[in-house]
Structures are given as C-alpha cells and as structure tokens.
C-alpha cells in the first residue's frame, strides 16, 4: 500500500571519531492514507540519550506533518533569514573573511601571513535576530608551509589539526581566538594558516506559523504525537511534544476520510534543540 523507507532530509555530519555524529533530522518518506473510513497510519519513534555527554538526554520530539496534496504550505524556514556564522582571519594588515556559514554546514578558508599570531574572529552578522537559540560551532586549524606541509601551530582553542570542543555563540555576539604559527624544524617557515569552521547549529524554523492560525492547511489531514500521558494534534504546523527519552507514537488520519499522500519530519532534541538519538521509524499500522 505504501513504501516505507526513511531517509535523512538534512544530513549526517560526521566530524571524525573525536566528535559525535550529529543527525539533523529524519523524514518518514512518502506515506499514503486510504479513503477507508477510520483509517489511521500508526508509527513509533524512540528517542534516547545522545552518546555525546554535552548533548545529553532528549527533552522533546519535534514533528512536522506535510500534506503532499496541499497547494500551499505554511511558511517554513526557507522563508526566513537563517542562523549564520561569519569568520575573519587577520594578521597585521592582512585579512581573510568567509561569510554566511549557515547552520549544519562548514567552510574552509586561509590567510597567507607567515609565522606569527593570527586572530580568528567569529560573528553572527546576517542572522535572523528573532532566533534566540545560540549557535554551536567547532574550529580546526593548521599552519602550513608554502608547499602545504604542516608547520608548528598552537592555540588555547585546540591543538593543531584537531577539531575544538563545541563552542557556543549567542546571536549578535562575537568571539575571538589567537592562533600562533611558527617555524617547524622539519617543514620550515609558515606560509599560511588554514581554518575550517563547522557550524553545528541545528537548522530549525526561525519563525513558525502560530499553530492556531495555520490557515494554509486544508484541515483534511491531521497527526497526533503521543508520549506518556501527553498528546498534541497538528494539521501541519510544527509541534514539539516534551516527554523526555522514550517512545513517541505518531498517528496520521484524515478528519474527512480523504485519501492522502503525506510525509513528516521528526527529530529528538535536547532542551537546547540539539539532536539527541532518534531511532529508525517503526510502522505499527499502515492503512
């Protein structure tokens, strides 16, 4: 009756064994609901504690139902300015800048400044300031000679060529770090420093449509998210159900008993909206 596969809608970002695997969201893939009276599709999602101690336990499940037949959808994150990071490397009168590093992406840039101290500045210019969630990032740097061999680098940020621990930056704020590059006995003088900035911020909608004014929905498709003694209904608006680690059930049905094609996005998140562990979607009933 329908194909049940699940895929990642955003991405998996794996930053090496020293960093956690960050899952940015899951999608149910296309599901169909028949016009049979009383039809319900019934699913189970299990949220667990993140393997990353800094992320910890699940606080809530974020859920969004999308009617594939709807002609218009409620505004989503694509219509609002995202969360952005910008980075600037400076040394004396030299500078190199990279802008608009959006959530869940990374960028590499460098500055040719020879041996000495480089200043790395991070800011959030361009971010939608209505978003109150802090941004998360990690930095990796390497001092290089003219042929691309590593020279000697040091910083309080992290060791050379090792991603830093996750840093946070509130929107509208700035951060600065010093990277010292020096001559290496084997590879010689530094020619440049290369920096990779990973924006680990969870890319979430910044301005969600108020759930009680979700006029874009036709009201012919609904979903309920249930966990423990809590339940919420949606006809398309993004909802959070706060029930910690454990099982979350999802039911999808049509108030008008209409045949429907739909999909939904879901993600287990901690209290800072960082992804925890989300199990594969389990289908309990397919109608």
């Amino acid at each position: 009756m329908k194909k049940i596969t699940q895929n990642l809608v955003w991405s998996f970002l794996i930053l090496g064994s020293s960093l956690p695997q960050v899952v940015f969201g899951l999608d149910s893939d296309t599901q169909t609901l028949t016009a049979n009276t009383g039809a319900i599709d019934f699913f189970e999602i299990t949220c667990t504690k993140s393997n990353d101690i800094s992320i910890g336990d699940t606080d809530h499940l974020n859920f969004k139902l999308i009617d594939n037949n709807a002609s218009t959808q409620a505004p989503t994150q694509s219509l609002v300015a995202p969360q952005l990071l910008n980075a600037t490397l400076t040394k004396s009168k030299l500078s190199s800048k990279i802008t608009n590093i959006s959530a869940s992406t990374n960028n590499v840039f460098s500055l040719k400044g020879g041996n000495g101290a480089y200043t790395l500045g991070i800011d959030t210019l361009g971010t939608n300031l209505s978003i109150k969630t802090v941004q998360n990032y990690t930095i990796q740097y390497q001092c290089l000679n003219a042929t691309g061999q590593a020279t000697t680098g040091s910083s309080t940020l992290t060791k050379q060529n090792i991603p830093s621990k996750t840093k946070t930056l509130a929107n509208g704020k700035t951060a600065k770090y010093i990277i010292n590059c020096a001559k290496n006995a084997t590879s010689g003088n530094t020619d440049s420093v290369k920096v990779t900035l990973f924006n680990n911020t969870f890319s979430q909608p910044a301005t969600l449509p108020p759930s009680n004014t979700d006029v874009a929905s036709t009201g012919t498709l609904a979903a309920q998210v249930i966990s423990g003694n809590k339940a919420k209904n949606t006809i398309g608006a993004n909802i959070d159900l706060q029930s910690g680690n454990g099982i979350y059930n999802v039911m999808v049905n049509s108030p008008t008993n209409a045949a429907k094609s739909y999909h939904f996005e879901y993600s287990c998140l901690n209290s800072a909206n960082m992804p925890t562990q989300t199990s594969p979607l389990k289908t309990l009933q397919d109608k």
Partner: protein
C-alpha cells in the same frame, strides 16, 4: 430472592449501560484531550461514539482509539461510531479537531464481551486541553 434480584439489577446498572464523557476542546488547533478506558478481562471489544456540532463551519472533531499496535479514527462528520476489537485492558483515546475554535463534544463508550454484553468499564482522564 427479591434481594438477589435487586442486587443483580444494581450490578447490571453499573455495567449494563453505556457511559458518557463530555468535554470541551480549547481554541488552539493542537488541543488534544487524552483519555484511557480500562475494560475488564471478559472484554472482546470497545464501542465508541462521538458527537458534537455538525454545522458546516464548525471544526470536525476526531477521536483516535488505539491499543497495542492498532488504531482507528472516528469523526463528528462521517463515521461517528466504531467497534474496536482489542480484548481486555487499557484502550487509549485522543480527541482533537481540524480547525481553531472551542468545541464541545460527547463520547459514549462501553466495553463489551463477545456476546455484546457490557463489561466493566472505567475511564481515566490523562489530559484535558
């Protein structure tokens, strides 16, 4: 004998008639009432009916009955009653609507054995929105 018949009638009155549950869903579209109905071990199925404002501009009220890995939906427009065969135990039900606006609704519910006779039925309200 008279006393026995009287007691039997009292016993029938506790199990033999349908139960009503009336409530109100608040304005927000996410509003969901969540109840749990316990049916004793003699139960074969639960019978549920839902009623509410059926005017064209009123929200459609839906109820989802689920137990173990099975679920069914009923609405105030279209099929508004259902028999859900799940044996004895706890049946869960969520009640919600497809538009903003406050709405009143009434549920009629009872547990039945395989012969259609009513069995012990208890309702527990988990969430009222």
């Amino acid at each position: 004998m008279k006393n026995f018949l009287f007691l039997a009638l009292i016993s029938l009155s506790s199990n033999g008639f349908a139960h009503d549950f009336s409530s109100r869903l608040s304005n927000d579209i996410s509003s969901t009432d969540y109840i749990n109905i316990s049916c004793d071990n003699l139960t074969d199925k639960i019978h549920i009916e839902i009623s509410g404002n059926k005017s064209a501009d009123a929200p459609i009220i839906s109820a989802q009955i689920f137990k173990d890995s099975k679920a069914k939906n009923i609405t105030t427009q279209g099929a508004s009653r259902v028999d859900f065969q799940g044996g004895g135990g706890a049946y869960n039900m969520t009640i919600n609507k497809n538009k903003i606006g406050e709405v009143n609704y009434t549920l009629v519910y009872h547990c039945e054995d395989a012969n259609g006779d009513h069995t012990e039925t208890d309702l527990n309200e988990l969430q009222n929105q």
